[in-house]
Amino acid sequence: MKKLLKSREISSFLFLVALFLIVGIINPNFLTSSNIVACFNDSVVYIIVSVGMAFAIFIGEIDVSVGANLGFTATVVSCMLRDGQNWLLAFAVGIIIGALMGLFNGWGVAIMGVPSLIFTLGTNGVMRGMMYVYTGGAWVENLPAEFKKLYTNTLVGSISVNLTLTVLAVIAIHLLLKKTKRGRYFIAVGDNPAGAAMVGIPATQTKVAAYVICGVLAAISGIVFSSRIGFVTATSGSGYEMKAVAACVLGGISLSGGVGSVIGASIGAVIMASISRLLVFMELGSTYDNTITGILLITIVVADSLMQRNTAEKNRRQRLAARTLSGDKAKIGGGDHE
């Protein structure tokens, strides 16, 4: 069973490998170690935001305000850094903004009981507007060089410090989710909310916590985003929400909640983050960007859903068939009831 659980992540990973190999066959330049590492390095923003989204999806909800959250945090933090504020203060402010947004979403969804898509759609709009109000529409430019270096610092070879930290954090989060009592609550709440209440799991608290985590991770990804891009525009982060959802789905997380892992989300994020890059190597140009994303997404979810349905159906039929079979035995052996 455990193996089966894992296989969803593994199949996503195999898919990623296949994708890279195909591009490598078309353009051998792609398969250099530095380029592959760069693919992963440049996926950090997506990984963080997708892991956050994964929390929202685990509990059976969704958060489409992560893009705006990312953009807004990036804007505020960058403005502070540009104006020479203390870094730690800036980061703290960013993370607090993210946490507050998460808390607000959590309040609306878990406590007020508003459908999550609708509620976060609303906060998304409000935050996008706030970005304009905050900057007046201007770009935030000229971030301190040392801040931008945070992104390029490497550890071993060309593997960036960011990537290393992110991977370690993802593994840690994964273990927390799977091994600790409270960690398991997130999946449990998504799996069966009413059942969670029966065994004393504080469903509301867990949901709010999931949103706060999602908000905080969106904020952190916003900070990484600005250190990577070096400037923040008024539309920064738009579209990230949908790409994060896509990443989660590609990584084997079910939108109905209770299924999947953050490792899967991370693998999905690498796929999503690499598409623009793959297209450059395939000499296809951004014209094909959307087409390929769409085909990837639909193919994977349809294949996955059909496969799951088949196994479920097979299991059911086996179970039912076993009943009549044991009936045969009963006839021959005179019944197995004592």
């Binding site: 069973m1 059942g195 029966m198 004393g200 799991i201 209770g258 009549t324 019944g335």
Partner: protein, 504 residues
């Protein structure tokens, strides 16, 4: 009475919006007691239990556990104070394994818990694959997982909300054994059920809930079955049941033609089923839960693949037709699971009644004929004396019995020649059950053929002209007249009697 009651409930009130469900409930539970709580559908039994568990909050009143007043209204607090409830509908985590389901929420290490769990399972003697996903378990197995959860928690107060409604005979036996053992250990148990026989079998005390209050309670030994039935019914209810069996005219099989016939019919969950249902006959299909009768019915109804054999309705081959075609051919089915397969809860009663008629011209060609829909709905509401405030009432807000009447009404709306009723009175209170029985009789007397699937032997005996038993997916007995009695049916259902003996 001991000094400190395990559980002491004083004057609890609870309303949902305008619906006052509990109106001053008081109840005690002491160590080593099994308190059977009975009451009609919607009496508020589950609600009261959920309040004890801290899932709902009461509006007024007090709860004491071992003499201490409960101040926190959190489920975790209730669990910590040693209360565990096995809910009416199992609430497992379908994507987790059985083991994960049982141990979730424990602080202890996984390996320790695993050991405790396996010990516990050998102690109660239940076999379950711990690594299976809970979503793939049958309802009975899910119920077992729920009970194991409570046992592993060493609950001092165990609440079982209709635990046996989906269990097999064996499983019921072993459950009762465990209940007795637990009681011996001094655990207090609240046992909710609709089956009065169980009350006398397992309970030490009994309390009857009616109209948001507990008008009757006491030691089981102080009551007889009749007293309990009387206590359940509203004071002005009249005895309807007596008249039933006498009204039934015997079927003249010689001159009657079979309306419905199965020849060596096989599918997933059953094989080699051959049977005939005659005009105006009620054929009972008895068996234990899991015998494969629902599968048989749904496969005939076009919901699953036919693996072999033939089905005929009035001589017409209906094997493997789609549900829509089967309905059009003149067969309809009242599903076992009203909530998942039967009812449109947030639709009104009219829409519920007419839903199977939408293919018919009488309901309009393209535009919906509302007049016809109204007429149709009113006909069944009047015929069945369904209690509604108006056709616009939402079906979900009806009581269980009235919901069932609506679903039966729908199945008749298509003017079928044969209706398959699958557990028509499951989870329905005594009063509504009587209504449903008289409906079934009336239908029979009008010449409709009925295939009645039920796990309630009394029900089968009371209603059927002829009974066939199903065991592990096969027909293993046919009974008529005097042979239709508890002992024979039970024996056949559990596969103890061979077909030849039974037929003889």
């Amino acid at each position: 009475m001991p000094e400190k009651a395990l559980l002491n409930i004083k004057n609890i009130y609870k309303s949902f919006g305008m619906n006052a469900v509990l109106k001053g409930i008081s109840l005690d539970l002491n160590e080593g007691e099994v308190l059977a709580l009975i009451g009609g559908n919607g009496a508020g039994k589950s609600t009261l239990m959920k309040i004890i568990m801290g899932i709902y909050q009461h509006d007024k009143g007090e709860i004491f556990v071992r003499g201490e007043k409960v101040t926190s209204n959190k489920t975790s607090a209730a669990l910590a104070s040693g209360i565990y409830m096995v809910p009416q509908e199992p609430m497992l985590f379908p994507n987790m394994t059985v083991e994960e389901n049982i141990v979730i929420g424990f602080e202890k290490k996984g390996s320790e818990l695993h050991k405790e769990l396996t010990e516990l399972m050998t102690a109660v003697g239940w076999k379950l694959d711990l690594s299976r996903k809970a979503g793939s378990l049958s309802i009975a197995e899910q119920q077992m997982v729920e009970i194991l959860r409570g046992l592993l928690r060493h609950a001092q107060i165990l609440i079982l909300d209709e635990p046996t409604s989906a269990l097999t005979f064996d499983e019921v036996e072993s459950l009762f054994r465990s209940v007795n053992e637990l009681r011996a250990k001094g655990i207090g148990i609240i046992y909710i059920t609709h089956r009065l026989t169980e009350v006398f079998e397992i309970a030490t005390h009994v309390a009857i809930m009616r109209d948001g209050k507990i008008p009757v309670r006491g030691l089981v030994t102080e009551f007889t079955r009749e007293m309990l039935v009387k206590g359940l019914l509203p004071p002005d209810a009249q005895e309807k049941e007596d008249t039933l069996k006498e009204q039934m005219k015997a079927i003249d099989y010689e001159h009657s033609r079979p309306v419905f016939e199965l020849q060596k019919f096989s599918g997933y969950g059953f094989t080699d089923i051959s049977l005939k249902v005659y005009q105006g006959e009620i054929l009972g299909l008895a068996g234990v839960v899991g015998a494969g009768r629902t599968e048989l019915a749904t496969t005939v109804f076009g919901r699953d693949k036919v693996l072999g054999g033939k089905a005929y309705l009035e001589g017409r081959d209906i094997t493997g037709l789609s549900t829509r075609q089967v309905i059009a051919a003149g067969l309809n089915y009242v599903p076992e699971d009203r909530h998942y397969h039967g009812l449109f809860k947030i639709s009104d009663i009219a829409a519920n009644t007419s839903s199977a008629m939408l293919g018919e011209k009488t309901m309009g060609r393209f535009l919906l004929n509302r007049k016809e829909e109204y007429r149709l709905t009113q006909k069944y509401v009047d015929d069945f004396r369904t209690k509604i405030t108006g056709q616009a009432q939402l079906a979900g807000s009806l009581s269980g019995g009235n919901q069932q009447k609506v679903v039966i009404g729908r199945s008749l709306s298509t003017s079928p020649k044969l209706v398959i009723l699958d557990e028509p009175t499951r989870g329905i209170d005594a009063a509504a059950r009587g209504d449903v029985y008289s409906i079934i009789h009336e239908l029979r007397n009008r010449g409709l053929s009925i295939l009645l699937i039920s796990s309630d032997m009394e029900e089968i005996i009371e209603l059927s002209d002829r009974v066939m038993t199903v065991c592990q997916g096969r027909i293993n007995g046919e009974f008529t007249g005097e042979d239709i009695n508890q002992d024979k049916l039970m024996a056949a259902s559990f596969g103890i009697t061979e077909k030849k003996e039974a037929g003889a």
